[in-house]
Amino acid sequence: MRDELIDPHARIVVIGAGQAGFTACAKLRDLGHQGPVTLIGEEAHPPYQRPPLSKGYLLGEITEGRLYFRPLSFYEERSIDLRLSATATAIDRDGKAVALTDGATIAYDRLILTTGARPRTLPTDIGGDLDGVFCVRSLADINAMVERFRLDQRVLIVGGGYIGLEAAAVAAKLGLKVTVIEAAPRILQRVACPETSAYFRHLHGQRGVTLLEGAALEALEGEDGRVRYARLVDGSVIPVDFVIAGVGVIPNVELAEAAGLSIDNGIAVDENCRTSDPHIYAAGDCASFPWSSGRIRLESVGNAIEQAEAVARSLTGMPSRYDAKPWFWSDQYDVKLQIAGLSAGYDNVVTRLGAAGSVSYWYYRGEQLLAVDAMNEPRVYMVAKRLIEAGRSPSAEIVSDPATDLKSLLL
């Protein structure tokens, strides 16, 4: 379905000032949209990058100002009305207006929802509200925990996903005593193959991190309101100075849901990033979109950028069909993991050994290449990304042979 052309002077309101919201606004101006653009963000900071929060920023290698996408002057120069510390409370679809907590309403012709996701928290009845329990999502989250990252402090990380493992890597580098617990039988189980799990298990083990798999948290216990111990389901007790929960995120769909938009593991959009209301679009972590025979929701910077750009193109009358090309990365110690594609549904994994301990794991369903995890193998990543995007699947024999010239696979 082709979008109807919109008036270049249409009023566009964007709710959520993360990567997707920022990108949508910047791209609208790049593409020449002349009407008012309003960007509503809950946080007090100018829009900023989140990936470094659990990496270089937590490590103290980069300052807060360097996380900002642009200086505040950018928004003024581009006539983007940036409303910080502002929360949207309701969408009036009939009246085409957004209500804010301060009582203001902002009228729109087109609305873009880039509300993102929030971290799942540990339940309060197991001590999730104790002082010293943190999560990793916002600058405020990191600023609250950063002073705890001191030599010999004991940190427990609940959840062995990428966020938890990145936090563990920073903590270990800074000399903390780090324990990671993962309730599933192995770390990264939801997102990666056993080979990739084993790679990172070994990496963290080498750096002195205690990694407990199949280890579920029963409760956190405190003294004077501060967390002191973690009790696991198997009865063991771990003394802690602080705790980081890295147990996934929940898409922020409440505003859309209350407005009666279709929700399906996120705000449901069509291939043109449009919600069930033709005047409202959604992009980024909060949006679920058609993929293969079903639908998916991606939590990644790459998706936030590309989907938001697709929305901006659509709103400026250009072809807008969003064709997701999933890619991800993670930095832990001196290992750069780059992931091309989506591994969900794989039934076999092919190993390709590289030089100096680098390695890549290629996920197949039958003969079809779905995804590649590349550890310190940027060449493999770049080739794999192109192969997957082109729908090409080199055979297991060719991939696993270290003598195969990677570039030849692209010919």
């Binding site: 990058q49 990936p51 470094p52 990496k55 360097r66 996408f69 642009r70 200086p71 950018f74 910077v301 790459g302 950028i305 890619w327 990365w329 930095d331 750069k336 780059q338 310190n376 193998e377 940027p378 060449r379 770049m382 080739v383 192109r386 570039k407």
Partner: protein, 106 residues
């Protein structure tokens, strides 16, 4: 602060006062130089901040590291002067540096 000139693909020259310790990419992005995508924000993970370093400056800027070189190998229209701008750290000695943007990033 070192003054850097970035030549956009249409020939427009952006003269930027770059802050020592930051990357060339960050300075280009902050000043809205067109043609730098830098999707990964400087993690050397995406190869969308490719630039050509002016011949006179190649020695001072230096050559790419191992990961950068591997990423660059797959960038569009790579040349001996190619670098990923997120990996070029601004120092005072780069005052006067000139870089040029490629036709496109990928």
């Amino acid at each position: 602060m070192p003054k850097i000139s970035i030549v956009a693909k249409d020939g427009t020259v952006f003269e930027i006062h770059a802050e020592p310790g930051t990357s060339l990419m960050e300075n280009a992005v902050r000043n809205s130089v067109p043609g730098i995508e830098a999707e990964c924000g400087g993690a050397c993970a995406c190869a969308t901040c490719h630039v050509y370093v002016d011949e006179a400056w190649q020695e001072e800027v230096g050559s790419p590291g191992a990961i950068e070189a591997d990423m660059l190998d797959f960038a569009y229209d790579i040349r001996p002067s190619s670098r990923l701008s997120c990996q070029i750290k601004i120092v005072d000695a780069l005052d006067g540096l000139i870089v040029r943007m490629p036709e496109r990033q990928s």
